[in-house]
C-alpha cells in the first residue's frame, strides 16, 4: 500500500459544450467573430448553467497504481482515456477530485510536441528534451544513445522539416523514451513508425517498466497493451467500468465489443447463405454438459453439425482456435485423420453424397492455457477456399490453480501448455580440493 506511485481519487472533468473556442482561420472569419462576440457573450450570460450544456468527460474515477506497475488504460473512443492522462500530466485541470503522484512525472501525450520544423535534429533533441523536463546535462549524457535509438545519425544537422515522417517520429520517440521519470504517462503514440520501430518502442517501454518505473499507457492496440501491461483500467463513458489484471480486463473488453449470445450452442455468423456444405451448429461441452467455460484440466469437446446439400467432392472440416486478439493458436482439420485406403487428396474428406452429420473433436486437457479463445469452424475445399464459415464461438479456459500451483504459484506464459518429457542428467562437480 505504501508503495503507491499514483493514487487517483474521484477525479472528474466537466466541459461546457459549445464553449470550446476554435481558431479563426482568416481575417473575415475573425472580423465576424469579433463583431458577434458581444452578442454571443450576452447569450452565454443569459442561459447560465441550465446543466444541458455541461458534459462530464470523466467522473468519479478512482484507482491506485503501485510502483512498478504498467497500467493500460483502455476503452472506446470518447471514454475519457486521454482526458485522464491529460489530468495526470497536469495539462488539464480536474473539475473535482484529487490525484497524487509520487516522483517525477514524464508524459508523452503526442509524439514530437515542441519540435520546431526549422531546427535541426540535434537542436530539436535539446529543445524537446528540455520541454519534456530533462536537464541539459542529462540530455548531453544521453545524446548518443538517443541518436542511436532514432537511427538518424546522418541527418542530425538537417532541419527536421526535411525529415520523412518516419524519421521525425523516430527522433521524437527516441527523445521521449530517454526521459527517466518515476512515472511515465504515454498516450496512443505507438501507432506510428514501421513495424520494426514499433517493436523497438515497445521494447523500450518494456525496459522502462522493467526498471521499476510506473507506466500509464493508453492504446487501442490490445496486443501491445496485453504485452506490456500487467494491469488495466477499462473506461466507459467517463467512468471506470473495470480495473484489474490486464489480461482479464482486455478479454472482457474485447468480449464486450463482440456480440456474444450467452446460451448459444448455435451458429453465430455465417458468411454464405447457400453453401454446398453448411455448418449447422457448433457446440462445446464438458462431461456431457454444454458449456463455454472450462478448466484447463478438462477436455474441451467440440461438436460440429453439418449438412452436405449438394454432391461435392473433397470437402474438409477445419476449425481455428484464436486468441481474442486474433492470433491463431492452431487449426486442426479432419484431413489429419489417418485413412490409408483412400488416395491422399481425399483423405478424411467428407462423403460427397448429400447427407447430414456431426463431427466430434476433443481438445485434450492441458493443451489450451488459461484465457479466452474464439473458435471458427469452416468447411473447406482445397483449391477453392472456404465453403462455409461459422465464427464467434467463444470459450474461456480457467486455471483453477491446479496447474499453476505446481510449483510456481503463477500461470505459465503462453497460449498453449506444452507438457514435454524432460530428461535431466547430472554430473558431480569436481571440487578442486587442496
Amino acid at each position: 500500500m505504501s508503495s503507491s506511485a499514483l493514487r487517483v481519487h474521484e477525479i472528474g472533468k466537466q466541459y461546457k459544450l459549445g464553449s470550446r473556442e476554435t481558431t479563426r482561420r482568416n481575417f473575415g472569419e475573425a472580423l465576424l467573430h469579433g463583431l458577434g462576440a458581444p452578442l454571443r457573450r450576452l447569450r452565454y450570460l443569459g442561459e447560465k448553467s441550465n446543466g444541458d450544456d455541461l458534459f462530464w468527460a470523466l467522473r468519479g474515477v478512482s484507482f491506485d497504481v503501485e510502483q512498478g506497475d504498467v497500467v493500460g488504460v483502455i476503452g472506446r473512443n470518447g471514454a475519457g482515456k486521454s482526458t485522464l492522462l491529460k489530468i495526470l500530466s497536469r495539462v488539464v485541470h480536474p473539475t473535482e477530485g484529487r490525484a497524487e503522484i509520487r516522483g517525477r512525472v514524464g508524459s508523452l501525450l503526442e509524439v514530437g510536441t515542441g519540435f520546431h520544423p526549422e531546427l535541426s535534429g540535434r537542436e530539436n533533441i535539446y529543445l524537446n528534451g528540455t520541454i519534456l523536463g530533462m536537464k541539459r546535462d542529462e540530455i548531453r549524457r544521453k545524446f548518443d544513445e538517443i541518436v542511436a535509438f532514432s537511427e538518424i545519425e546522418k541527418f542530425l544537422d538537417t532541419p527536421v522539416k526535411r525529415y520523412s515522417s518516419g524519421m521525425y517520429v523516430r527522433l521524437a520517440f527516441a527523445v521521449a523514451a530517454h526521459l527517466e521519470p518515476e512515472v511515465l504517462i504515454v498516450d496512443e503514440v505507438l501507432a506510428v513508425g514501421d513495424a520494426a520501430f514499433q517493436r523497438k518502442c515497445l521494447g523500450k517501454m518494456g525496459d522502462v517498466a522493467g526498471a521499476g518505473r510506473t507506466v500509464l499507457f493508453v492504446s487501442h492496440n490490445m496486443q501491445a497493451v496485453s504485452h506490456l501491461c500487467n494491469k488495466a483500467v477499462l473506461l466507459d463513458k467517463g467512468r471506470i467500468r473495470e480495473s484489474g489484471p490486464a489480461r482479464e480486463i482486455i478479454e472482457n473488453y474485447i468480449r464486450g465489443s463482440v456480440s456474444n449470445d450467452a446460451d448459444s450452442e448455435i451458429v453465430h455468423a455465417r458468411t454464405t447463405p447457400d453453401a454446398a456444405v453448411m455448418i449447422d451448429a457448433v457446440t462445446t461441452s464438458c462431461n456431457g454438459a454444454l458449456t463455454r467455460e472450462f478448466d484447463l484440466a478438462q477436455p474441451i469437446r467440440l461438436k460440429i453439425s453439418y449438412t452436405v446439400r449438394r454432391p461435392r467432392e473433397g470437402i474438409y472440416l477445419v476449425f481455428t482456435v484464436r486468441t481474442l486478439l486474433g492470433l491463431p493458436v492452431f487449426t486442426p482439420s479432419n484431413a489429419d485423420m489417418d485413412d490409408e485406403d483412400e488416395p491422399f487428396e481425399h483423405q478424411g474428406a467428407l462423403d460427397p453424397a448429400p447427407h447430414s452429420g456431426t463431427a466430434e473433436i476433443e481438445i485434450p486437457p492441458y493443451v489450451l492455457n488459461a484465457g479466452t479463445f474464439e473458435i471458427n469452424v469452416a468447411s473447406y475445399a482445397p483449391g477453392h477456399g472456404t465453403v462455409d464459415l461459422v465464427t464467434n464461438t467463444i470459450i474461456t479456459v480457467h486455471d483453477s490453480g491446479s496447474y499453476a500451483s505446481r510449483p510456481f504459484n503463477r500461470s505459465r506464459d503462453g497460449l498453449v501448455l506444452c507438457r514435454l518429457p524432460w530428461r535431466l542428467t547430472q554430473d558431480v562437480l569436481q571440487t578442486q580440493g587442496a
Partner: protein, 300 residues
C-alpha cells in the same frame, strides 16, 4: 518478466485517501505532486519557475535561432527595420512636419526613442500571440506556462542589442557624446522589459480566451506609439496633460532613454511613475495569467 501478482488495492472506489496519506507522508514529502481543482487566484510557484529556468533559456534560444533561419540577410533585418523607420520618420516628422527635437538632430532624436519603442512593441505583439501560436505545446505538455509569453521577450532583447550598434554609429556620425548617465541604460532597459513582460503576459492570457484580442493588440500597439513620445518630444504636449501622459509607462521610459543617450536632463518624476506603473502591470498580468492558466488547455 511479466508480473502476475495483483494487489487488491487496485480497485475503483478507494476509501478514505487521507488515512493512507498519513502513513506514508514522512518518507517522500516533497516529491509528491498533488493534482486537484483550484479556484480563484493562484500563487506563482517560484520554485518551479526557477527549476525550469533551462527551459526558458531554450525557448528564447529557439526563437532567436528560428527567427532568421532561411532569410537571405539574416540578422541584418534587426538593423534594417529600425534604420528604415528612422529614415522615414526623419523625413516625414522631422523634415516635412518640422516636429521639434529638443535641439538634437532629428534622426538621432527619433532613433533614441525608437530603440526602446521597437523593443517594447515587438515584445508585446510577440508575447500576446505566443500562447495561441504555441497552443500545441500548451495542450500537450505541462511546464510553467509563464515561460511562453516570457520567452518572447528574449528575441526583442537581441534585436535591441543589434539596433543599439546602429545607434553607436549614429552617435559617431553626429559626433554626439553621451554623458556618464549612459550607465543607467541597463536599468532603463530592464524597466522596458518589465513593462513589456507585464503587458505581454496580460494580453496573452486574455487572447487565449477571447480571440478578439488578436485584432485588438496590433491596433493597440499602433495607437500606443502615438500616445508615447516616440516621434515628438514631451515638451510639445501642453503642461496640464503631461501627468496623464506619464501614466503611460513608455512616456517615462522613452524620456529616460533620450535623457541618457542624448545627454539631457532626465524627468525623474515621469520615470518614477513609469517604474511604478510597469510593476503594477506586471503583477496584474501575472495574477490574471495564473487565474486563467488552468483553463488554457481546455480553450487553447
Amino acid at each position: 518478466m511479466t508480473k502476475i501478482e495483483h494487489s487488491p488495492c487496485f480497485v475503483a472506489g478507494e476509501p478514505d485517501i487521507r488515512a493512507c496519506d498519513a502513513a506514508r507522508l514522512p518518507a517522500v514529502l516533497d516529491n509528491i505532486t498533488v493534482i486537484q481543482p483550484r479556484r480563484g487566484w493562484v500563487n506563482v510557484d517560484w520554485r518551479e519557475l526557477w527549476s525550469g529556468r533551462e527551459l526558458l533559456y531554450f525557448l528564447v534560444w529557439r526563437d532567436i535561432k528560428v527567427r532568421y533561419k532561411q532569410t537571405v540577410i539574416g540578422a541584418a533585418w534587426a538593423i534594417l527595420q529600425p534604420v528604415c523607420t528612422m529614415v522615414i520618420f526623419s523625413l516625414i516628422f522631422g523634415a516635412f512636419a518640422k516636429i521639434p527635437s529638443d535641439g538634437v538632430p532629428y534622426p538621432i532624436f527619433v532613433y533614441a526613442g525608437l530603440l526602446p519603442w521597437t523593443f517594447f512593441s515587438n515584445a508585446v505583439s510577440q508575447s500576446s500571440q505566443s500562447l495561441i501560436n504555441q497552443a500545441r505545446l500548451v495542450t500537450k505538455i505541462y511546464f510553467p506556462r509563464l515561460f511562453i509569453p516570457a520567452s518572447s521577450i528574449g528575441v526583442g532583447l537581441v534585436d535591441f542589442a543589434l539596433s543599439f550598434v546602429v545607434y553607436v554609429g549614429l552617435m559617431l556620425w553626429y559626433s554626439h557624446v553621451p554623458g556618464a548617465s549612459i550607465l543607467l541604460l541597463p536599468v532603463l532597459l530592464m524597466l522596458t522589459a518589465v513593462a513589456a513582460l507585464g503587458t505581454g503576459i496580460f494580453m496573452s492570457s486574455i487572447t487565449v480566451a477571447y480571440r478578439d484580442f488578436r485584432i485588438v493588440v496590433p491596433y493597440m500597439v499602433q495607437i500606443w506609439m502615438y500616445l508615447s513620445p516616440v516621434v515628438y518630444p514631451t515638451t510639445i504636449v501642453p503642461e496640464q496633460f503631461r501627468w496623464v501622459m506619464a501614466l503611460n509607462p513608455m512616456t517615462g521610459i522613452i524620456g529616460g532613454f533620450r535623457g541618457v543617450l542624448l545627454n539631457q536632463p532626465v524627468d525623474w518624476h515621469a520615470l518614477g511613475v513609469a517604474a511604478i506603473v510597469s510593476v503594477v502591470i506586471l503583477i496584474a498580468g501575472i495574477c490574471n495569467f495564473r487565474r486563467m492558466e488552468r483553463r488554457f488547455a481546455d480553450i487553447a
